[in-house]
């Protein structure tokens, strides 16, 4: 099967973003008629590899080979011309244009005089959706589509290209079981037609079900490329993680105290409905579910970023006003947000200013900020969290992903919260730092903090949480105690295969 030369290949590719070495000396072969899996933890460099194949990034070192010959993709257009279609991890739609136009932008079917043939455009789109077994209106604008539907539009866009190479970066993260099944049958058809496919997923069973071979990345380095037949899921995890699981998830046993955070019947129309739970002192509660299930949205509403339509949020029995992060902070909540680069940090700002941003009031000496106090506080936290940096006056943008995340944690822990909400706390950071973050969360809980952890990383959820809340399509689908939480029970609830018994 793999005798033919690879359609698309990487040779010794390296890529760095500032101090972050996203890829180091990675090689990869994609053969026609084969579905190749790319495995690795969050931040291992998978998406960066995809973007190099797609011509979005150009490698610092190494080569991209097309049909065995070096090719220099000068932009995404070049890669598309060469027959490479990509489903990016983050949807890239034009909100103001219709779904059909989104799919065919730049290569619309033409009628006379080069005009767009709208009829053909619509029917081609409808045909694609039929193939994928979804019912979406080709003429509705992309604005307001759910994450799952956005992902479906991306998939339709990629398969409509009739490409020789199809790259899929976590296409299933937001999809239900049915939709995943459809995607897989389309992928198999393409494979049988001689396409080369690259598939990325965090769900190991999907990799084993669909793919022939797997390449594993860890911290930007190539660990192995091997046939999946010879592997067990545990082998694969071992390659991805590179250390014993119990050192990665050093959960300490604690006895929970009083309820610090109480969320009652929280509803934001069209986003989440009737969400109730509490988090007690000393407890780590995980909020699991598919991408787009509404987990981050609940966290945002609790912290006051978004408003909610009904329900209540209480900290130590005191009700919080709707839509005020300032009030939430005053009540003792801290939120380490999902998107570090947009929400967590001011990337151009210095390390010390980023850490100080949440506690400006306490840094004041008279009316002005004391630079010494600002720097001292940053230095204290840098030591406590073992931050690696050269100067506190450096922009946080030059730090590695893991160290950036430590700055975010420092920024929030310095407010001395009693409730800590962490949204994807280890996304995009290296394994070493990941273990440190886990140890820190565990220690904080042992010190009496109430921790609410949102994570898409199932081993992390299972390894760290005292209780697992699972969301499905905007509702709490299940509450699973640590003892009963397994990959199966959590995924069943997350994909809607079980319903919460007692409401």
């Amino acid at each position: 099967m793999s005798e033919s030369p690879p359609i698309l290949a990487l040779r010794g590719v390296s890529k760095a973003f500032g101090a972050v070495r996203a890829l180091q000396d990675v090689s990869l072969d994609l053969h026609g008629g084969e579905i190749h899996a790319l495995a690795g933890e969050n931040g291992a460099g998978k998406s960066t590899l995809v973007k190099i194949l797609a011509g979005v990034h150009r490698p610092d070192e190494g080569q991209v080979l097309l049909d065995g010959r070096p090719r220099d993709f000068r932009g995404p257009g070049d890669a598309q011309q060469a027959g490479v279609a990509v489903i990016y991890q983050e949807p890239t739609l034009f909100p103001d244009l219709s779904v059909a136009e989104n799919i065919f932008m730049g290569r619309q079917p033409r009628a006379r005089f080069g005009r767009i043939d709208r009829g053909a455009l619509r029917s081609a789109t409808a045909g694609l959706f039929e193939r994928l077994g979804v019912s979406l209106d080709p003429d509705r604008p992309a604005r307001g589509l759910s994450i799952a539907d956005q992902q479906i539009v991306e998939i339709a866009k990629a398969i409509s290209r009739d490409a020789r190479v199809l790259i899929m970066d976590e296409p299933t993260a937001a999809l239900s079981g049915n939709e995943v099944g459809r995607l897989f049958s389309v992928a198999r058809t393409l494979r049988d037609h001689g396409c080369a496919l690259l598939f990325i997923s965090h769900r190991l069973e999907e990799i084993f079900e669909l793919c022939h071979r797997v390449t594993t990345l860890r911290d930007g380095r190539l660990i192995a490329t091997e046939p999946l037949d010879d592997l067990t899921p545990d082998d694969l995890v071992q390659r991805m993680v590179g250390r014993e699981l119990d050192t990665l998830y050093p959960k300490q046993d604690t006895t929970p105290g009083d309820a610090l955070l109480t969320v009652a019947r929280l509803t934001r129309e069209g986003v989440f409905t009737d969400v109730s739970f509490e988090v007690r002192a000393g407890e780590i509660v995980a909020l699991a579910g598919l991408v787009g299930a509404g987990r981050s949205e609940v966290a945002r509403a609790v912290f006051g970023i978004d408003r909610y339509d009904a329900g209540a949020v209480e900290v130590r029995g005191t009700r919080l006003p709707v839509g005020s992060p300032t009030a939430a902070m005053a009540a003792g909540i801290a939120l380490v947000p999902e998107d570090r680069r947009q929400q967590g940090l001011v990337m151009d700002g210095t390390i010390e200013r980023n850490i100080g941003l949440t506690t400006l009031r306490t840094l004041r000496r008279g009316p002005v900020i004391s630079r010494k106090a600002e720097r001292d506080r940053a230095a204290d936290w840098a030591i406590r969290l073992q931050l690696k940096y050269s100067r506190l006056s450096d922009a946080v943008g030059v730090l590695s992903g893991g160290n950036q995340q430590k700055v975010v944690l420092a920024k929030w822990l310095s407010t001395e919260p009693s409730v800590l909400i962490v949204d994807e706390p280890t996304r995009g950071i290296d394994v070493g730092t990941k273990a440190e973050v886990h140890r820190l969360l565990s220690e904080l809980a042992a010190d009496g903090l109430a921790v609410l952890m949102i994570s898409s990383d199932l081993p992390e959820v299972l390894g760290m949480a005292d209780r697992v809340l699972v969301m499905h399509e905007g509702r709490l689908a299940a509450e699973i105690p640590r003892a009963e939480a397994t990959e199966e029970t959590v995924m069943a609830a997350a994909t809607g295969r079980t319903r919460r018994e007692a409401a």
């Binding site: 890529k15 973003f17 101090a19 973007k51 011509g55 979005v56 990034h57 150009r58 490698p59 610092d60 000068r74 932009g75 912290f303 970023i305 992060p325 300032t326 939430a328 902070m329 939120l335 947000p337 947009q342 929400q343 967590g344 940090l345 001011v346 990337m347 151009d348 700002g349 200013r353 100080g356 941003l357 949440t358 400006l360 009031r361 840094l363 004041r364 009316p367 002005v368 900020i369 230095a379 204290d380 936290w381 840098a382 030591i383 406590r384 969290l385 073992q386 931050l387 690696k388 940096y389 050269s390 100067r391 450096d394 030059v398 920024k411 822990l413 001395e416 220690e443 010190d447």
Partner: protein, 347 residues
């Protein structure tokens, strides 16, 4: 939550990389300041009438409205907004001053009233921007037209003159013993206050954070809307007061006073190195930018260069001031990354 003793042993402060700091030396505000000094020395040597007290105080007086309004404009641009309605607010204030003075009101009553009106003009801008989430560019183009229109409604094409001499003297006189006109002295005081607010207080830290990454600032509990609203109000107040100065300086209240001034103010702010995308800039740079434009105009005038050329020079300076940093950054990027990545080309 005391720092854990066991991890203190880590040598956290060990330098990981030693990036050369040359970037710091070629900051744009430093270049503008250097340019300012060059222009001043060149002017003093080449043009006899330039470095005289009379001429300098004339040049400064001529500049003071732009200089004053540039202060709140700097803060607005730092938080990523812009106020194009400032000159219209100035004109409206001038027209009101004329109309009320004509109607027999006392200056002492009019001026506080104008300040309130100025605050309202800013409040309208600020509420539309923060409550409705509209782009300030569109909003203030609207209020630019509205406020100028109201100025005409108030005063028509009339000109009101003959304001009391003691007030006119305040607007044109100099601080005894110096060539500094009183309005410019006011500018100096306000500039110092603004500089402290922007560069040394929590509010200033918050403003930079808002401009650089508004979402992150909001997530950090900063009251983004409140700060923006306040800045628009300050901008309105300062513009209204500048209208009073303008009127007294020229001794004439007209609805078209200060027409087009908003562009000169923005030119000065950007020339001073404030990033139009927000989050970056220094007040020192802006002061240098304001002075550079003022002195350059004065020099060109003294040398009998047509006023039109002054406009060309301003325009070119403006383009160069935004173009140079991008080119420098581009060259630096290209040198570090011979086969530079496309990812640097974010919009």
């Amino acid at each position: 939550m005391a720092p854990d003793a066991s991890v203190k042993t880590a040598s956290a402060a060990a330098p990981v990389t030693a990036t050369p700091r040359v970037g710091r030396l070629v900051r744009w505000d430093v270049i503008v300041t250097a340019l300012l000094i060059v222009v001043f020395i060149g002017g003093a040597l080449g043009t006899p009438d330039f470095a005289t007290g009379d001429n300098l105080s004339f040049a400064l007086d001529d500049l003071c409205e732009i200089a004053l309004i540039a202060l709140p404009m700097t803060l607005l641009v730092v938080v990523g907004e812009v106020d194009l309605s400032v000159a219209s607010a100035l004109g409206m204030s001038s027209a009101l001053l004329g109309a009320l003075w004509d109607a027999g009101w006392a200056i002492e009553t009019i001026v506080p009233l104008l300040i309130v009106v100025g605050a309202v003009t800013g409040l309208v801008n600020g509420l539309l921007v923060t409550r409705l989430g509209l782009p300030s560019l569109a909003v203030t183009i609207g209020t630019l037209t509205l406020y100028r229109g109201l100025a005409y409604v108030v005063l028509g094409t009339k000109a009101v003159a003959e304001f009391p001499q003691n007030y006119a003297d305040l607007a044109t006189g100099t601080v005894p013993g110096t060539p500094i006109p009183y309005p410019f002295a006011l500018f100096i005081v306000l500039a110092i206050i603004t500089a402290v607010v922007l560069h040394a207080t929590g509010a200033g830290r918050a403003m930079f954070a808002i401009g650089a990454q508004e979402e992150a600032a909001f997530f950090a509990g900063i009251r983004v809307k409140r700060i923006k609203l306040l800045l628009f109000v300050v901008s309105g107040v300062v513009s209204a007061f500048a209208g009073v100065i303008y009127t007294l300086r020229y001794g004439s209240a007209r609805a078209d006073n200060g027409l087009g001034l908003e562009l000169a103010v923005i030119a000065a702010v950007l020339l001073g190195g404030v990033d139009f995308d927000g989050g970056r800039g220094t007040l020192g740079g802006v002061v240098a930018g304001v002075l550079l434009i003022g002195l350059l105009r004065n020099l060109l005038m003294l040398r009998d260069v047509a006023t039109e050329i002054q406009s060309i020079v301003t325009g070119l300076l403006l383009i160069v001031s935004v173009l140079t940093p991008r080119i420098v950054a581009g060259v630096r990027e290209a040198r570090r990354h011979p086969r530079g990545s496309m990812s640097a080309s974010s919009q």
